[in-house]
């Protein structure tokens, strides 16, 4: 009898724990409306949630839109991590926006939908309405495409891809020991996408060889990114990263000299006839990371470089589609630092830009080197750290992606990893800095820009 009682108790315990486990999921959303005046535009803020390491941004990209007035209002407070829309991308989404901020474009990065293009109408708050059909560029440039919206009135997007193959000379013999390394063949794929009608416009694949001397020394183009249209609209510039092998073994060589910065130039819209131009001013890569690295201003394309042993430069490519080696804008000199490294930047139409950077003196924060913002002038070749923005060690800008531009004003997000921050609005003309809406953060996470 005693035993039976015991059994029943245990059974009911098991059953009630079952009931408990069944009754704990209930999804209901409180829709938060955001309002916007006719005269205003939407500012979309992107937030990157922590995956398993603080600052890794692998836990999802969330976006949330407010009006530009609200963005400038420090009494306003937004919480994208609680109320945002999670962009459907397995890894950090690379976002683009229409020039007026009314549309967000996304190409999913990795995962099953990797390479899928989608478009959303911005309606404020977490309300993003998918528009148009989906199209995938994965078959052409892979499921983790590097893409940019060209500055042609939101008509075209372009994505790029490079595959490499090492070429050896077997001396016509079976003997493997007499083989020698010849060069690495790099093949570039470029696709253009009709953003309005969600269609593939063009795709071309071509070899992008370096000079025979560079190739004999083991150099090759290993990554490309950041397609930018020139002023005439007849050439596309693509940033490049170089890698090197030891020609004696064919194995990766990380000790080699850094060559002059290179850009691939090809005909547009045919995407044919690639040539490679080299800078004698800057050294290192021009492929950037996640934010746009090259912009058209006043008939020339200005491009940042990274990994330059003398500190990042802003390089200039003229209307003749060649580097202007008389244009020397070294950020180490301009900022008075050493080891300046451009993380992201964006000019307004007046040739004055906001630039995110780190340098050798950056503190080591929870997620990497501390970042700073500077106001730079492409004409005057000056750069000034924006001191009105608060900085601390955990202020991390490596994954920074976007700056919304409204006339001469540039919107940026400021928040150290895991701490609240604010939107700041920089009047590039006057240099005035306005502290805007508060950004509510969560543990280990950060903000990656405005659109």
């Amino acid at each position: 009898m005693k035993n039976r009682f015991f059994n029943l108790t245990t059974l009911s315990l098991v059953l009630s724990s079952l009931l408990l486990t069944f009754s704990c999921s209930d999804d209901s959303n409180d829709i938060i409306e955001e309002e916007k005046e006719e005269s205003s535009r939407w500012i979309t803020v992107a937030a990157a949630r922590m995956g398993d390491n603080p600052g890794d941004g692998n836990g999802g990209t969330l976006i949330y839109s407010i009006s530009s007035e609200d963005a400038k209002d420090p009494t306003k407070s937004i919480a994208p991590f609680d109320n945002g829309f999670i962009v459907p991308s397995n890894r950090t989404a690379r976002l683009q926006a229409s020039e007026d901020g009314s549309t967000i474009f996304n190409i999913s990065y990795a995962g099953d939908t990797g390479g899928n293009y989608s478009k959303y109408t911005v309606n404020g708050g977490q309300n993003f309405t998918p528009t148009g059909s989906e199209v995938s560029i994965a078959p052409y440039v892979g499921s983790a495409p590097r893409w940019i919206k060209l500055f042609d009135g939101d008509k075209t997007g372009s994505a790029v891809y490079v595959s490499t193959e090492k070429i050896y000379d077997d001396k016509g013999t079976e003997d493997e020991t007499d083989d020698t390394y010849l060069r690495t063949e790099a093949t570039m794929g470029v696709v253009t996408l009709d953003l309005e009608n969600s269609l593939i416009k063009n795709f071309q694949e071509q070899s992008i060889p370096l000079s025979s001397e560079e190739e004999a020394n083991g150099y090759y183009i290993s990554r490309i990114d950041m397609p930018t249209l020139n002023a005439a609209g007849n050439k596309l510039y693509i940033g490049a990263r170089l890698s090197k092998v030891d020609p004696t073994t064919g194995e990766t060589d990380r000790e080699g000299d850094v060559l002059g910065s290179k850009t691939i130039v090809l005909d547009y819209p045919s995407l044919l006839n690639p040539t490679i131009i080299s800078s004698t001013v800057g050294y290192g890569n021009t492929n950037g990371y996640r934010s746009i690295n090259a912009f058209l201003y006043n008939g020339s394309v200005y491009q940042a470089n990274q990994g330059d042993p003398n500190g990042s430069h802003i390089l200039k490519i003229d209307a003749n589609n060649q580097y202007d080696n008389d244009y020397v804008f070294n950020l180490d000199d301009a900022l008075g630092v050493t080891g300046a490294y451009v993380l992201a930047w964006r000019p307004a139409a007046n040739g004055k830009a906001v630039l995110a950077y780190r340098h050798d003196g950056s503190a080591e924060g929870v997620a990497g080197q501390q970042g700073f913002f500077a106001l730079i002038d492409l004409e005057a070749k000056t750069a000034t750290k924006i001191d009105e923005i608060p900085y601390e060690a955990d202020f991390y800008l490596f994954q920074y992606q976007g700056f919304a531009v409204d006339g001469n004003e540039i919107y940026l997000t400021q928040a150290p990893v895991g701490k609240n921050g604010n939107i700041y609005v920089i009047d590039t003309e006057t240099g005035a800095v306005t502290k805007g809406a508060e950004l509510i953060n969560v543990e280990g996470s950060h903000f990656i820009g405005t659109w």
Binding site: G55, P139, K166
Partner: protein, 806 residues
């Protein structure tokens, strides 16, 4: 008192004195003729004026103390065997009798269950958080070994598709290299993928032991989160069985196992073989299952998988002697296996399905087994099991043409068929076809010595060596590159010592163990020296670590047993983590430390309670796993983004906490019901921030119902009806998000309930068993990994033939 009385009392005293003096103990040991121990069997001793009763303990031993000298009959009754009576003459102070019971041929299923339970029970009573999975019932049905494991409490299988597809095992939330799998105590890495849980049929397997968190000393490997040990059939009784099965997706499976033993000489021949084939052409839809038209416009379709076939063939043959004076088993043999698996897609189902990408692997291994109980002296047992051979693996991906989900060549935005820029089906940076070989020489030897000091104390020493020597080459890479490809050697020695205590009439069982891990990795990379000669650069690392743990079970009440165990467990860094891998741009980190985890289990078992015809058992286990120095990849930063290199490092802590619960219920001999559930949460702490680990099915439930009917259609036949349900709670590919976010559904794997139905019919005499199974009756879309769809409704029919069930 009269002299006579006095005399007779003296005589009585004398007689009784003599009788006392002439008493002895009768010790006995009983086993079945398949070498399994007889536990809990009723033993009766009968003499002229004396009758005593006892039962065998979990080691198959029994004892009658203080029995007057004389001749007795000892009879033993077990539900699983024919009763046996032997004569025992007690003529010394301690006499031993060994009894071998013949398992009944015409046992009905209930008897099988009782027998299996006892075997199970013995392992479960050691105190570990262990589940013993019996394959007997599954082996006559259309059930894969993996499916069987998936219904086990606390175990979650995550499979990327149908038969033969890639599987991940998770034990209480820990998965990947934290879970080690063994075949007869030998790490499965020695066998490779061709001889695995995917290919070995349940009929070749005797039982599967799943140890969660705490792994006994005899399974020596760096198993941080637990171990799955597959025990192959090891009976020494002449038997044969064969089966053939056919079903949906052109799935054909056949297997045969046999053993023949010459009674007089003990010479034994043992062989098993299997062949599996499936097209795996099940239907998939949703997600990126689309065809692409002009301009890249997409049309969703329902597609049949077209590059997913699986074939595996293998077998094992052994000859030697069994149950002879000098060995219980001495067998030498050969294991050979080969499998071929087409690969339909990568980790995800993208819009670019693969065509003609496949993996082929084979293994050829010589094996030797020696087992002897009471070697040299009583209580000293020795077992040695060794393997040596080769295993090879090839991944082939040589087609550049793009294919579409309809199985045809895909067209580009202009309507032309096209080739991928990367020159193969799988996307990659390096252009060109791949035909990647990995050849390995493997060796492993496991030695176990145990000595039972007496009934209460036992000491065990175990050693496992496993060595892998690996060479990679790509047939399409220039021969030059292959010249400079390195070789990797890995040698692991794990020694463990265990002390076992059995006290308070078997109520308490304790087990304390220590493990010593030693791993040596050698990395040989050719390079060109200053004299333009090719030279080998040799780097080696030798790591040593210690771990320890205990397991304890205590029968608080006859129906209530406490089971608790703990271990400081280790996972040694693997070769890639230590040495890096040029192909993946991983650089060496010789200073990397092993992952460590403190694992705790606390469990109770209530039962078996019997009430008239009802019987049930409830068991639960609470667990925590505290992981330190997790090995992972660092964050990409502006400092390393262009280095093209990554290195593994120790980072942060992890924790898994939860419980398992299980209920078994039987009614008469007809109805059996099993239900289990498992729930846990898994978090990691990195640089002080704690997050829930995403992509983890943290809540699972399984239910199993069997109903038996006898004498249907024919007399002495038996019909079994089966129903199984698998429930997996919703989980997300993303870390938990805020309270009011939208768009989360994109990352969610919805709650799933799969239901299977089956029946088996044993013809009279039990020689033929036919079974029919329907899997996923309601044709629900099932996913283990985000939108990677598993097979829908499927039907299978199987025919089994037996001569002497093992």
């Amino acid at each position: 008192m009269s002299p006579i009385q006095r005399y007779s009392s003296f005589l009585l005293f004398l007689v009784s004195y003599v009788l006392v003096a002439q008493n002895g103990n009768l010790k006995g040991f009983a086993k079945f003729d398949n070498d399994e121990l007889v536990l809990g069997a009723y033993v009766a001793l009968k003499g002229h004026d004396l009758k005593r009763e006892t039962s065998t303990n979990i080691d198959g031993h029994f004892i009658f103390k203080n029995i007057p000298y004389g001749t007795y009959e000892v009879s033993i009754h077990s539900l699983n065997a024919k009763p046996k009576t032997v004569e025992a003459v007690i003529s010394s102070s301690e006499q031993t009798v060994n009894i071998t019971l013949q398992i009944t041929e015409h046992q009905d299923l209930q008897e099988i269950l009782v027998q299996t339970k006892t075997e199970k029970r013995k392992i479960e009573d050691e105190g570990f958080a262990v589940n013993v999975v019996q394959t007997k019932e599954a082996s006559i049905r259309n059930i894969q070994t993996n499916e069987l494991l998936n219904t086990t409490v606390g175990v979650k299988i995550r499979q990327n598709g149908g038969l033969g597809s890639n599987v991940q095992y998770s034990l209480n939330g820990l998965s990947g290299s934290a879970v080690r799998i063994f075949i007869d105590g030998i790490p499965i890495s020695v066998y490779g993928s061709s001889f695995s849980l995917n290919s070995i049929p349940p009929s070749m397997i005797k039982r599967i032991e799943v140890y969660k968190g705490v792994v006994p000393g005899h399974l020596a490997d760096d198993a941080l989160g637990g171990a799955i040990n597959i025990v192959l059939q090891n009976s020494t009784k002449t038997n044969f069985n064969a089966s053939v099965s056919y079903g949906s997706f052109n799935t054909f499976q056949t297997s045969a196992n046999g053993l023949y033993r010459f009674e007089k000489s003990g010479f034994t021949v043992k062989a098993s073989a299997f062949h599996n084939y499936s097209d795996n052409d099940y239907k998939v839809w949703g997600g990126q299952v689309k065809v692409t038209g002009l301009g890249g416009q997409q049309t969703p379709i329902t597609a049949r998988r077209f590059n997913d076939a699986y074939r595996s063939t293998g077998g094992m043959a052994q000859i030697g002697f069994t149950d002879v004076k000098w060995a219980d088993q001495f067998l030498v043999g050969f294991t050979g296996s080969d499998d071929y698996k087409e690969i339909q897609h990568g980790a995800f189902m993208t819009i670019m399905p693969y065509k003609n990408r496949y993996m082929e692997s084979d293994a050829m291994l010589a094996n030797v087994t020696y087992q002897k109980e009471d070697l040299f002296t009583e209580g000293l047992n020795l077992n040695v099991h060794g393997l040596y051979g080769k295993r090879n693996r090839v991944v082939s991906d040589t087609l550049a043409w793009a294919y579409s989900w309809n199985g045809e060549r895909a067209i580009d935005y202009q309507g032309n068929e096209y080739e991928y820029s990367w020159g193969s089906q799988q996307e990659k940076i390096e252009f060109g076809p791949t035909l990647n070989h990995i050849d390995r020489n493997v060796a492993s030897i496991r030695t176990g010595v145990s000595y039972a000091i007496n009934e209460y104390h036992r000491i065990l020493l175990n050693h496992v060596y496993s060595g892998i020597n690996r060479e990679d080459r790509d047939e399409f890479a220039a021969s030059f590159e292959n010249t400079f490809a390195g070789t990797r050697d890995l040698h692991k020695n794990i020694i463990s010592a265990t002390y076992e205590l059995n006290a308070f009439d078997g109520k308490l069982q304790a087990n304390v163990f220590g493990k010593h891990y030693q791993q040596k990795t050698v990395n040989i990379d050719p390079f060109v020296n200053d004299n333009n000669e090719v030279e080998d650069e040799i780097i080696s690392a030798n790591t040593k670590n210690k771990g320890y743990g205990f397991a304890l079970s205590y029968a608080v009440l006859p129906n209530m047993t406490l089971l608790t165990s703990a271990e400081k467990a280790i996972r040694l860094p693997n070769e890639t983590e230590v040495f890096g891998n040029d192909g993946d741009n991983v650089v060496a980190n010789p200073s990397i430390r092993p992952e460590q985890s403190n694992n705790y289990n606390l469990g109770f078992r209530f039962g078996t309670f019997s009430l008239k015809n009802h019987a049930f058992t409830i068991s639960t286990n609470l667990f925590t796993r505290n992981i330190k120095d997790r090995i992972g990849l660092p964050l990409e930063t502006s400092l390393n983004v262009n280095d093209e290199i990554i290195l593994y490092e120790n980072q942060g802590h992890g924790k898994s906490q939860g419980f398992d619960a299980q209920l078994n219920y039987t009614y008469k001999n007809n109805l059996a019901f099993n239900f289990n559930m498992s729930r846990f949460n898994l978090t990691v702490v990195n640089r002080g921030v704690e997050v829930d680990v995403p992509n983890t099915p943290f809540f699972t439930m399984n239910g199993n119902l069997r109903y038996s009917l006898k004498n249907i259609i024919k007399k002495n036949s038996q019909l079994n009806l089966f129903y199984t349900m698998y429930f997996t709670g919703e989980f997300s590919y993303l870390v938990p998000q805020g309270t009011n976010t939208v768009g989360d559904e994109f990352f969610k794997v919805p709650q799933q309930l799969a239901q299977d139905f089956g029946l088996s019919y044993s013809f009279p005499k039990n020689r033929f068993v036919m079974s029919f199974d329907v899997k996923n009756i309601f044709d629900k879309p099932l996913y283990d990994n985000l939108r990677v769809q598993k097979p829908g409704k499927a039907f299978y029919l199987k025919l089994n033939y037996f001569i002497n069930k093992p």
